[in-house]
């Protein structure tokens, strides 16, 4: 299989897993990522361990990223999007639109001088987004960089000891034998459920917000007062199991992350009370039944999804729900409400589907050709991996990424004979 190359679109955990397996088999892999670094959404998530590991799998991501960075068979092409494709299996020609990233990953030694010298304050215009990045390259933040604000600043370029910064970079064209689409998902925008108050009330957060807060190593405080939350409500199935907004599927990750967060919040402040409003708690999976049992000891589970969240005062939120035990509308006040937002298909999937000629299926995820094959698309030689095909958690996305790699190798092996 030497000299054959494969394009993987999307540098999230599924794409990275595909790329690593293909590289292991001797393929040249182009890992194309629209952002400045790979790792995808999961790279921004936090470890949810309390005094013991809660098996959230987030720690797998940096490990995979480092493996990619060390693998000479994988060319990571960042800041790029696929804008055109021609040819067929064994001989695809792919046009990439490369947005200049300004820092050359081949040259950058990640010494940190540029960040130190950058005159933009308080937020620097060039930095390493997080410790385990691949490519291991500092990135220029156009919102902060003085040059993009019109100033004639050239401090980083002049002082880079490796000469890695170049404000004039050019686009590319690739020739590949097969394509894996691993463009991932979008977190459901909780503002679409207006009555739940996200975006309007400062103390209504989403699961994603908690990921970001814990990922920076901070403890969770109330955005309104900076105090530690004492009474927290989680609302499940925001943007999942909801045919009215077009998401008639279970996101498969929210019950687990909500329970892990609830445990983590109680670990942070043991006196915090946590209530989880739910439809059905999803407890399938090795060891998860025991975790649920453990959670039930300290967390209150209430069946039913609240209809509305109101702000009584900046520090007090009122949650209105149907109390099923009494058959009446009940109101309870909380200081923090967390919306367990689910996995939604990317809104721009339509664009990529049109470029590649592949079909979209139920709810806007990419569709497969055969019911029993979750990788093959209607175009021979183009395969799917990870959450762009349907909701998956991190280990399942990794497994699906490897499966896509397996299908590529099988298909190209069959062609070679």
């Amino acid at each position: 299989m030497a000299n054959e190359s494969v394009l993987v679109i999307g540098g999230g955990v599924a794409g990275v897993s595909s790329a690593l397996k293909l590289a292991e088999d001797g393929f040249q892999v182009y890992l194309v990522e629209r952002g400045p670094i790979i790792g995808g959404q999961a790279a921004l998530f936090c470890c949810k361990a309390t005094e013991k590991c809660s098996q959230c799998s987030v720690c797998l991501v940096p490990e995979k990223i480092l493996e990619v960075a060390a693998n000479p068979q994988i060319s990571v092409v960042v800041n790029s999007e696929v804008v055109g494709i021609s040819g067929g299996i064994g001989d695809f020609k792919v046009d990439l639109l490369q947005k200049p990233g300004f820092v050359d990953p081949e040259k950058c030694i990640a010494c940190g001088i540029c960040t130190e010298l950058c005159p933009s304050e308080p937020q620097k215009g060039i930095y390493l987004p997080f410790p385990e990045t691949a490519p291991r390259t500092y990135i220029i933040d156009k919102n902060q960089c003085l040059r993009f604000k019109g100033a004639e600043c050239n401090v980083c370029q002049d002082n880079c000891p490796a000469g890695a910064i170049d404000f004039e970079q050019k686009p590319k064209e690739l020739e590949v034998s097969a394509v894996i689409v691993a463009t991932g998902f979008e977190v459901f925008d909780a503002r679409e459920k207006g009555l739940l108050g996200y975006g309007r009330y400062s103390n209504v957060l989403t699961g994603l917000d908690l990921e970001r807060i814990f990922a920076t190593g901070d403890s969770v405080t109330l955005p309104s007062s900076g105090k530690c939350p004492r009474n927290i409500a989680f609302i499940q199935c925001v943007g999942s199991r909801d045919e009215y907004i077009g998401n008639g599927y279970c996101s498969q990750v929210c019950c687990k992350y909500a329970m892990r967060f609830a445990k983590l919040l109680q670990y942070q402040s043991p006196e915090a009370k946590v209530t989880i409003f739910y439809i059905d708690i999803q407890t399938a999976g090795k060891g998860f039944g025991e975790f649920y049992k453990e959670c039930k000891e300290t967390i209150r589970f209430v069946r039913g999804i609240p209809v509305e969240v109101c702000e009584l005062s900046p520090n007090e939120l009122e949650v209105k729900y149907e109390d099923l035990t009494k058959g009446k509308i009940a109101k309870e006040s909380y200081d923090l409400v967390v919306l367990s937002v689910g996995i939604a298909p990317r809104k721009d999937s339509w664009d990529l589907a049109r470029v590649l000629g592949i079909n979209l299926g139920d709810y806007g995820f990419f569709d497969t050709q055969d019911t029993l094959d979750s990788n093959r698309t209607n175009v021979n030689g183009i395969f799917l991996a990870g959450t762009c095909q349907g909701p998956r958690d991190i280990p399942e996305s990794i497994a699906h990424g490897i499966q896509a790699a397996s299908k590529v190798i099988q298909t190209l092996t069959a062609r070679a004979i």
């Binding site: 940190g112 001088i113 407890t283 399938a284 090795k286 019911t371 979750s374 399942e396 299908k407």
Partner: protein
């Protein structure tokens, strides 16, 4: 220790950033005075190709035979430096690293103390380098054939995919025909293809696949040897034979079990288990009395597997489609976290299946042959509901088949709390066992739905292929070795090894000693720790190396 030591120390100041904090030429001067240090170089960017080429040239030109790199974390570039050392003609294990960036200059604001610590770190790395030993790479040839145990959908799919990858497989099934659960299930909802159709397609692919050898009514008895060259004893009918395989895939699935204690009910003609219902639906025509109302009860036991709730969902729809009549599902939490399950749940409701959720277990009684179910429906404010029903379907729990448990223990494979196979690492290697070359796929190790089991099948096929495709496996010979003169054959290491990589062997036709199989060894070092005779040495972490490091550390503390 080598008599003729020629140490080369390569310092990197990370683009000049570290030289600003401390004087690298002073460090260089101090290091040059140390005995055996042949060369000290300062670079600004050892992580880049250019500098690594220069480093390679220096190693060759100066005849360096031990390399010390003082730079950033080994996590980032240790492998690159090993490759440089190897390309310069020195064994790749003769490299020792000091992390003076993250662990020293970046961590400590006090410049003088940091400089002192950096000297200690480099000194320790140098001392360690003196005792480094080469580890040779060898290749072991392997049998390019895979044994798959279990001819259910997962095993069949793995065989087909391995055949697509041009690898021979032997598929062993204990029953008379392939198919496993496909032969028992009445439908595969939410997958809209019938089990008969799936089985027919798959069997056709098996027949067409040039490389699949099917053994039905056969059983695996025992396995000896190690990865690459297992020899398996297989029983078929009254005969027994032994064959060699490079890798083994277990796809033994699960079996279901009904325990009547949970309900206090005995099975009868109108109280049946999920598998009995499945049989009834499967054997279509011959149902004497068509049930007018059917109730499913799940979630009463503490079981949290997908098997029972999914079976209730699938067959609720199956019954509704086949017999019409009233169908009711009683559950606590409906499991819908799988592809298409929420849609299946909706289809069921659209077709008129009634779902009742309970917090307190329903009371089931039987009087004069009639079943009465009383339950508090939590969605109706806990209202007491009484349901008469003609046919009550009770949940079953999924358990590992007894023979797979027996095999697991005879082959030293780990089992989890329920007796299913335990993966080596649930997250990182979900299909690898604790033994190199033995893999798990499907429900024998995890709670999976059909699509997930198929994903597993692809993944094990790829793992086995990548292990065996070259016909040989590169391995580091004797990276952990037993000194036969010191070994007293106490068996402690054999018992302690989590990977079953240590076996007994005879030296000089007389003495029995422990011997480590290079292919199976993961280099964890547990055996070296437990050996009471200190006969086992991991070459990269020998006692001499660690003591030499500590000796220098003593001067600084």
């Amino acid at each position: 220790m080598d008599k003729d030591l020629r140490l080369g120390v390569f310092l990197c100041d990370c683009g000049g950033t570290l030289s600003k904090v401390t004087d690298f030429s002073a460090i260089k001067a101090k290091l040059q005075k140390l005995s055996d240090v042949t060369y000290v170089g300062i670079s600004h960017d050892l992580c880049l190709k250019r500098a690594q080429q220069a480093m390679q040239k220096d190693i060759k030109d100066k005849g360096i035979n031990r390399v010390v790199v003082a730079a950033c974390s080994p996590e980032l570039h240790e492998k690159d430096f090993m490759n440089v050392v190897q390309s310069a003609g020195v064994n790749r294990h003769l490299l020792s690293m000091a992390n003076i960036r993250e662990q020293c200059f970046w961590a400590h604001p006090d410049k003088d103390k940091a400089a002192q610590k950096a000297m200690a770190q480099i000194g320790m790395a140098i001392n360690r380098a003196r005792f480094l030993e080469p580890v040779e790479q060898t290749q072991i040839s392997v049998t390019k054939e895979v044994l798959i145990i279990g001819g259910g959908i997962t095993g069949i799919q793995a065989a087909i995919e391995l055949s697509n990858l041009n690898l021979k497989t032997t598929l062993v099934e204990k029953e008379a025909a392939l198919g496993g659960k496909l032969n028992r299930f009445a439908n595969l909802y939410p997958v809209q293809v019938s089990p008969e159709e799936v089985l027919a397609t798959k069997l056709k692919q098996v027949a067409e696949g040039q490389n699949i050898y099917v053994l039905t009514s056969a059983e695996l008895l025992d396995v000896s040897g190690e990865v690459g060259n297992f020899s398996a004893r297989i029983k078929r009918g009254n005969g027994e034979f032994v064959r060699n395989f490079g890798a083994i895939i277990f796809a033994t699935g699960y079996t279901t079990q009904f325990s009547s204690q949970i309900y206090g009910l005995e099975l009868s003609n109108n109280i049946i288990t999920q598998s009995q219902l499945e049989e009834m639906l499967k054997s279509s025509s011959e149902v004497k009395q068509i049930p007018k109302s059917v109730c499913f009860v799940t979630d009463i036991s503490d079981e949290h597997s997908r098997v029972s709730p999914l079976s209730a969902l699938r067959n609720a729809l199956g019954i509704k489609e086949k017999f019409r009549g009233e169908v009711c599902v009683l559950c606590q939490n409906l499991k819908v976290d799988g592809a298409g399950l929420e849609k299946l749940y909706r289809d069921c409701r659209n077709k008129g299946v009634l779902f009742i959720k309970f917090d307190n277990s329903p009371r089931i009684s039987k009087q004069d042959g009639k079943i009465k179910i009383e339950v508090e429906d939590v969605l109706m404010s806990g209202e007491q509901v009484t349901l008469p029903c003609d046919l009550l379907v009770l949940e079953e729990t999924s358990v590992p088949p007894l023979d797979s448990k027996v095999l697991g223990s005879t082959l030293y494979m780990g089992l989890d709390a329920q007796g299913f196979y335990q993966e080596n690492n649930v997250h990182l290697y979900p299909t690898a066992s604790n033994r190199e070359g033995i893999f798990f796929a499907g429900n024998c190790h995890a709670d999976l739905d059909l699509m997930q089991a198929l994903t597993d099948a692809s993944n094990v096929a790829l793992s086995a292929y990548q292990l065996l495709a070259q016909g040989k496996i590169a391995v580091e010979a004797e990276k952990v070795m037993v000194d036969p003169n010191k070994c007293r054959f106490c068996l402690t290491c054999i018992r302690a090894c989590p990977h079953h990589a240590i076996q007994e062997a005879k030296v000089n036709h007389e003495k029995m000693v422990a011997q480590i199989a290079d292919l199976a060894c993961q280099g964890c070092g547990i055996c070296a720790v437990v050996c009471p005779a200190k006969a086992i040495k991991p070459k990269d972490w020998s006692d001499e190396q660690i003591l030499a490091e500590f000796e220098l550390l003593g001067e600084y503390v």
